[in-house]
């Protein structure tokens, strides 16, 4: 065998041996620096402050519980997410606190981790599976948007033209929010949706999408946005068009800039999700799992609360004043 081929074969066999790590019986050894176990925090995107808070809180709580924690940004890309899972598995992490990019597309990643003996705890976004993750701590988006829809009807006096900006189409949160909202609003025939379009939960896209919608539909009275980043983008588009005082904007999340905007009278309302609460719960449950607990409910909806200009005093960014 020529010398070069021999060396390549040896390298290949070494890599194969390193890749074929033996499974352990539960949560993996996951030892990090100074013998600390490691938790991975895999977040769908860090291009949105809400998810930054989610990731940072999960990491901080994991560290408080005595783990080394690392955040991985999937950039809303299931391929990148898959690479992160490969790295986490190879890196011997003890648990994954996971905010998925896609309800269906992310299942394979969670199953891959499970097969490698690493438990996954989903936060905020759901995967469409009941047996891959240990548990899924999810915002109750549907009920939150039922309440938001009722408030929308009231503020609109049951009539007017509105635009709906959807989030990422492959994410269950997008549809749970939209369906909760429509379960109320569609019962009022004088409330007319003139356009429904995805802006992928992104502020800049929301601004561009709404600008384009307003060219075809200049007479709108409200914009319902599937998250707060899009609500801020919509508000920007309306402000640029000189319509910010006339058109009511509704968001969903409880992000800092929208809470500030509700306080300033710019945005009408949002649904407060509790990213800090959910992230802490996920880290604590992962810790309990590592310590031997196995009995977890598969899905845990966390209630969303309506934040308006009337009750804004009770709320701060990402939560209630009382729980900060």
């Amino acid at each position: 065998m020529p010398r070069r081929s021999f060396i390549l074969t040896v390298i290949f066999l070494l890599m194969l041996a390193l890749g074929c790590k033996q499974k352990d019986d539960g949560a993996g050894t996951g030892a990090g620096s100074q013998g600390k176990r490691k938790m991975a925090v895999v977040i769908s995107t860090l291009n949105n402050p809400w998810f930054v808070v989610l990731g940072d809180t999960a990491k901080a709580r994991a560290e408080e519980l005595g783990y080394d924690a690392t955040i991985f940004d999937s950039q809303n890309d299931t391929a990148k997410e898959s690479d992160h899972f490969d790295n986490v598995i190879a890196g011997g992490y003890a648990a994954i606190l996971f905010n998925p990019t896609d309800a269906d597309g992310s299942i394979a990643n969670v199953k891959k981790a499970k097969e490698a003996g690493i438990p996954t705890f989903c936060i905020d976004r759901e995967i469409n599976s009941s047996d891959a993750a240990v548990t899924q701590i999810l915002s109750d988006n549907y009920s939150g948007c039922v309440e938001l829809g009722q408030y929308f009807v009231k503020k609109m006096n049951q009539k007017g033209n509105y635009v709906e900006l959807l989030g990422i189409l492959g994410d269950n949160n997008t549809w749970n929010r939209s369906k909760g909202f429509h379960s109320v609003v569609d019962n009022y025939p004088e409330l007319k949706r003139v356009a429904q379009q995805s802006a992928e939960f992104d502020r800049t896209k929301a601004m561009e999408v709404l600008e384009s919608i307003m060219q075809a539909n200049p007479e709108i009275d409200a914009v319902f946005c599937g998250n707060d980043a899009m609500a801020m983008g919509a508000y920007q588009a309306l402000a640029a068009a000189g319509k910010a005082d006339k058109v009511k904007v509704f968001g969903f999340d409880g992000a800092k800039d929208v809470i500030d905007s509700i306080r300033d009278g710019k945005i009408v309302a949002t649904g407060m999700q509790f990213p800090k609460r959910m992230a802490r719960m996920a880290a604590e449950q992962a810790d309990e799992y590592i310590k031997g607990k196995r009995d977890f409910p598969q899905k845990v909806p966390v209630a969303v609360e309506l934040v308006t200009q009337e009750n804004i005093a009770k709320y701060t960014a990402y939560g209630r004043e009382s729980e900060q």
């Binding site: 469409n128 988006n141 549907y142 039922v146 492959g170 019962n187 845990v300 909806p301 209630a303």
Partner: protein, 214 residues
């Protein structure tokens, strides 16, 4: 030149054949369609209504006892009767009672369940759509963890509400309820754990499960 023509023609035929054998559809639409095909929320809700809910009504708490407990000890009320599908400040209660109709509104009955039957202390929803998941959650019979996705769980709530409108509210309104008459009811309500402190407990809104005029 002849060869080039031949290849171009072959490529064109190939592209044509491929375009005839492949079609594009929005992935989100396909997923939604598959999900719907696999799960029938109306059927699930129908079974819940006919076969599961009647048994749960045996455990419905009397409305006057519940109101008293809310005011005296909310924590006890939650522990004994409250249900929530996850982490929430709002709990759902399955309840029963009777009272005097104080007024008949467009989409609700105002009812007094105390004496002397003048001030309404509950509102029974009688509109042609019911929002939310009060009955599903108060029953404690539908476990979110048993569904692969929460949209199915939410669709069940919507289908239960449709049954309530068709089988409870419409027939009841056909009997022409009027102020002064007595109404007996089973239903569900949702109350926040800090409702007393926040002074939002003046009137309890009830989604009816059974309504009967005396």
């Amino acid at each position: 030149m002849k060869k080039a023509c031949k290849y171009t023609l072959a490529a064109a035929v190939l592209v044509f054949l491929l375009s005839q054998s492949v079609y594009l559809k929005d992935l989100a639409e396909v997923r939604e369609q598959r999900r719907r095909e696999a799960f029938n929320a109306a059927q699930y809700a129908g079974d819940f209504w006919l076969n599961q809910l009647p048994g749960a009504l045996d455990n419905a708490v009397d409305i006057t006892e519940l109101i008293g407990l809310f005011e005296a000890d909310m924590a006890q009320a939650i522990e004994r009767y409250g249900k929530a599908p996850g982490v929430s400040r709002v709990y759902a209660y399955l309840l029963k009672g009777e009272g005097t109709i104080v007024s008949v509104e467009d989409d609700a009955l105002k009812v007094s369940v105390g004496t002397p039957h003048t001030n309404p202390d509950v509102v029974i929803e009688t509109g042609f759509y019911i929002p939310g998941n009060a009955v599903r959650d108060a029953s404690g019979l539908v476990d979110v963890s048993s569904f692969s996705d929460t949209m199915k769980f939410n669709e069940i709530g919507g289908e239960i509400n449709k049954i309530i409108v068709e089988e409870v509210i419409r027939p009841f309104l056909a009997e022409k309820p009027a102020a002064g008459r007595t109404v007996r009811f089973f239903g569900a309500t949702q109350v926040a754990q800090d409702a007393v402190e926040e002074d939002s407990l003046q009137v309890i809104r009830i989604v009816p499960v059974r309504l009967e005029l005396e």
